[in-house]
């Protein structure tokens, strides 16, 4: 392997360069001396011999360099020289260096921070083997506007039959459980999973074992796997937890294993996993829809998502065709959707994240343009220096390399500081992340993020470094060498380039500002939405009763609880409700007496909420017509319901809904509508209500809704005490004021809007600095001309107009191009907007005005300086 030896020699030389130089020098000196001696011996006079020997030998410096080049390290030596020189240049211009590094650090930092989020959430595969083959099933019934991530138990068997497509399938549902028998009673959400689930996901317990198919049969042994966090908090992370027993809803379960971190990243909401073990009767059609079952499958290797989708489309069509006649009309358009697990997890967040990534890229481009401008401003001094270097033998390529080395070095310095910013930024992002952001725990500055920062730093350095390089190509060296060469062709070209850069900055800033403006307007509109209830001073919490009682016992217990809480000081009204707004209300399909849905029209459906009588008052939902139900209605089993205005308008537009009858079975019984209340946005603030049905009643597992005189949060502790006084093992959880729930429901929009506004603000500041820089430079360059103009009688106002006109022209062109660009780009974010169109004129006009105003401010300072030019001084200076 001769090349390996050769490489070894090269490396050795690299580390012994000083010795190498000494050896070479000595060798060459000897040569010259010997030649000189010989010439002297041949009768040359001493001085002539010396001269001759040297002349014949050649330029020792060049020869030494050529010898160095032989070893192939020339590039490295040049790089080292260039770096040394670049460092010296930066140190000599601390102001310039600080501004450039800070500008770049902001751009690179923002990019790196957002990228670390994108990387963790969108780019990293899920923490399970071959995650791209794991899919989930969704079912859509367009007739009732339902897209559900759940399937029904019979479907599990049906879908699993496709063994040619699915390697394995698994299912699970969730259930609240009170954990007792170890420490304080606590409520947890347990995953009831089929035995195939963990193997399908490739998740192995870090301790103990998974449960067996035998344990996943109805009535078999009760075993549980704990999440790592629960295991640590309850058992202190001790391996002896295996084999211990815990009580879940008063049933004893044996701990058989501990779930790894990957389970918590995928399913952070579950603290335990128990066998699904469904009773066989759940799989009959009568029970369809009782349980919300999530279903997953792992595709066979080589099977595409399209193949799986095609198979399920056939299944769905068969299901519709074989449906009983009374159900069939409702199933028209029924779809079974197959999507990758990762897409289910991150599908909704992808667009806002890419939007933010695009926004920070704009910020970085603006930062680059600014630094390029700074570099160009130094161009005229630099061009003389370049000319000198060229004159003493530097090739154009070496000069370009030198310039690029300087800008990449600058960019790396910015990158290092930017990483610091990114590190803070990432921490802040995770801290302020909306709850809808999945696996935030994995967001960090990891090696991939570091590589990203390195790459964008390099690219940015080359990008803005190209500006002065382009100029080098145009410099006439001999011209540049002249002492006072000021306005050669290169100077004019440079001015054009600088203007182009500022123009791009203004355009990019405009687009960012419009994006931020649209999101902020959406957010404001969202906050302006009337939710239909009064969130102030309302406290809500979920209850999880431990005992299973009959309906009468549950009602008695509930009345008792409400009486106790109502009697508490500070409580205005206490009530219970199945699912209050913003707490995932259920959906039901109902029938209206003597009403037939149009053949293709939607089946009547609405959110349904069971409540205690005081609920409307407690939640602040206004009664519009009729009356609300009372406790007497419940006690006498009066078949009455209350509907909201949205439902009344949908089915009885222009007439009163009062007295109309609705039910769930065409054979009856029918319930009478006795009241119409205000429409409530029950899912999110952005989603309009499709109608709500309110039933009177007390059931287990309802949530408490308490209206307080003031400061509802302070009541939480006392209310919990009252709840546990009635039932000590009852868990109270998800305690939040309605105001908090409202805030949470718009958290994602707030997050996106605030971040984009932040970036747009940053862009605006950078663009203003850029414009200011260009105009200041122009004023400095034209001091002489301005002096002449003033000497010839120009009024300071004319000078002001001249400078501001220059700046304003740039701003107006930038805004015009920006409007065109924004028209094209904001369309991409239409789905993120609420209540404003992507081309909202108010936003466009407002942003244009703002940008022009800021441009004027940026022009003002240099314009003032120009006005104050003393013609005498300016002329003498020349």
């Amino acid at each position: 392997m001769p090349w390996l030896h050769e490489f070894g020699r090269r490396i050795r030389m690299l580390f012994r360069r000083a010795q190498f130089d000494r050896d070479l020098d000595e060798e060459m000196r000897l040569h010259i001396e010997l030649r000189e001696k010989e010439l002297t011996a041949n009768g040359f006079p001493a001085s002539e011999a010396h001269m001759n020997a040297r002349k014949n030998f050649g330029n020792t410096l060049a020869l030494r360099e050529a010898s160095h080049d032989s070893w192939g390290w020339a590039w490295l030596e040049h790089l080292a020289q260039d770096l040394k020189f670049a460092f010296r240049m930066l140190r000599k211009n601390p102001g310039f260096t600080a501004v450039a590094v800070l500008t770049l650090a902001l751009g690179i930092g923002a990019n790196t921070a957002i990228f670390s989020v994108v990387n963790a959430i969108l780019l990293q595969p899920l923490p399970i083997p071959d995650s791209s083959r794991v899919v989930v099933f969704h079912e859509a019934i367009p007739k009732i506007n339902l897209v559900s991530n759940a399937v029904s138990p019979p479907d599990i068997h049906n879908y699993s039959k496709h063994t040619d497509i699915f390697e394995s399938t698994a299912a699970f549902y969730e259930k609240n459980a009170n954990l007792t028998g170890v420490g304080q009673p606590q409520r947890l959400l347990a995953m009831h999973a089929s035995a195939s689930l963990l193997p399908l996901l490739g998740i192995r317990p870090i301790l103990g074992r998974n449960f067996t198919p035998a344990e996943d049969t109805y009535g078999a042994g009760h075993v549980v796997l704990l999440s790592e966090a629960l295991w640590r908090s309850v058992f202190g992370g001790s391996p002896s937890a295996i084999g211990k027993h815990v009580m879940l809803n008063d049933v004893s379960y044996e701990v058989i294993g501990v779930l790894p971190q990957s389970f918590q990243i995928l399913y952070p909401e579950y603290q335990a996993c128990v066998p699904m073990a469904l009773p066989p009767q759940e799989f009959t059609d009568e029970h369809e829809g009782d349980l919300f079952i999530g279903m997953l499958a792992r595709l066979r290797p080589g099977v595409s998502l399209q193949q799986a989708r095609a198979a399920m489309t056939v299944d769905a069509a068969r299901e519709v065709a074989s449906a009983p006649p009374q159900v069939a009309p409702m199933l028209v358009g029924f779809r079974i959707e197959v999507l990758r697990l990762i897409d289910e997890e991150v599908g909704n967040i992808r667009q806002p994240l890419y939007l933010l990534l695009g926004a920070v890229l704009f910020v970085l481009l603006i930062a680059c343009a600014n630094v390029a401008n700074l570099l160009l401003a130094r161009g005229s001094t630099r061009s003389r220096e370049m000319a000198v270097r060229a004159a003493i033998g530097a090739g154009r390529r070496r000069i370009v390399a030198q310039l690029l080395t300087e800008s990449v070095l600058l960019s790396f310095l910015g990158g290092v500081l930017g990483l610091l910013f990114a590190w803070w930024g990432t921490t802040a992002l995770v801290h302020f992340a909306p709850p809808s952001l999945p696996h935030t725990s994995t967001i960090r500055v990891d090696p991939i993020v570091l590589v990203f920062a390195f790459v964008i730093s390099t690219l940015a350095g080359i990008f803005f470094g190209l500006a002065p390089v382009v100029q080098v190509g145009k410099i006439d060296w001999s011209d540049a060498l002249k002492e006072n060469a000021r306005s050669g062709a290169s100077e004019i070209g440079r001015r054009g380039l600088r203007r182009l850069l500022v123009l791009s900055e203004i355009t990019l800033t405009f687009v960012l500002l419009v994006g931020a403006g649209l999101l902020l307007r959406s957010f404001a509109k969202l906050l302006d939405v009337n939710p239909g209830f009064d969130p102030t001073n309302v406290l809500t919490m979920r209850l999880s009763p431990s005992k299973q009682g009959n309906a009468a016992q549950a009602a008695a217990l509930s009345r008792d609880l409400l009486a106790r809480i109502s009697a508490m000081p500070g409580v205005t009204r206490a009530s219970l409700a199945g699912e209050p707004p913003l707490m995932d209300p259920g959906n039901s399909i109902f029938l209206i007496h003597d009403y037939h849905a149009a053949a293709n029209g939607p089946q009547p459906h609405a959110d349904d909420v069971a409540t205690s009588p005081g609920y409307f008052a407690a939640m602040g939902i206004p009664l519009l017509h009729g009356r609300v139900y009372t406790d007497e209605d419940i006690q006498s089993n009066n078949p009455v319901v209350v509907v909201d205005q949205a439902l009344a308008d949908r089915f009885w537009p222009g007439q009163s809904a009062l007295g109309k009858q609705i039910g769930f079975d065409s054979k009856g019984p029918w319930s009478t509508i006795i009241g119409v209340v205000g429409t409530v946005r029950s899912h999110t603030l952005a989603m309009e209500s499709k109608g709500t049905l309110y039933f009177p009643g007390y059931y287990e597992g309802m949530s408490l809704v308490v209206r307080a005189a003031s400061n509802p949060g302070a009541l939480a502790g006392a209310i919990r005490t009252q709840v546990q006084a009635l039932d000590p093992s009852q868990a109270v959880y998800d305690v939040k004021t309605m105001s908090e729930r409202v805030t949470e429901s718009v958290a994602q929009q707030r997050f996106a809007a605030v971040l984009l506004a932040l970036f747009a603000g940053l862009a605006l500041a950078l663009a203003a600095v850029g414009l200011y820089g260009v105009l200041s430079y122009m004023v400095a360059q034209r001091t002489h001309e301005i002096g002449v103009r003033m000497a010839l009688g120009a009024h300071p106002r004319d000078v002001l107009r001249l400078v501001i006109g220059q700046g304003l022209k740039l701003a107006v062109i930038g805004v015009a191009v920006g409007i065109a660009a924004a028209f094209g780009l904001t369309r991409l974010m239409a789905s993120l907007l609420y209540g404003v169109s992507a081309t909202d004129p108010l936003t466009f006009v407002g942003v244009s005005l703002l940008l022009v105003l800021v441009a004027l401010l940026a022009c003002y300072v240099p314009a003032r300086r120009a006005m104050r030019v003393d013609p005498m001084l300016a002329l003498r200076y020349e």
Binding site: E26, E27, L30, H31, F57, G58, L63, A66
Partner: protein, 109 residues
Amino acid sequence: MHRDEIPPGTLYLMILKTLARRRELHGYEIAKTIQQNSEDVLQVEEGSLYPALQRMLVKGWVKASWGTTTENRRARFYRLTPLGRKQLEIEQSQFERVVNAITRVIQTA
């Protein structure tokens, strides 16, 4: 006396050949030998010998070690390696091929 520049690319060949005849030589001796053997017709720009020698060191054609001259001066002596011997054959046959070709062209012209 008129001296001719050496044709490009033949410097290696001449250094290799010079070293092949002697056990080891230092830089000045190499330059002098080339000059003498060419009966002073060929003029090596003496300094250019050294980058060439470095290149040959990299390639592993020659080896260098410090020693003393007969006049007791420290000097770097160069010696041919087996690889260098092989290279000499390559360069020599290549050179002859080229010279023959050129000769044919000149004679037929």
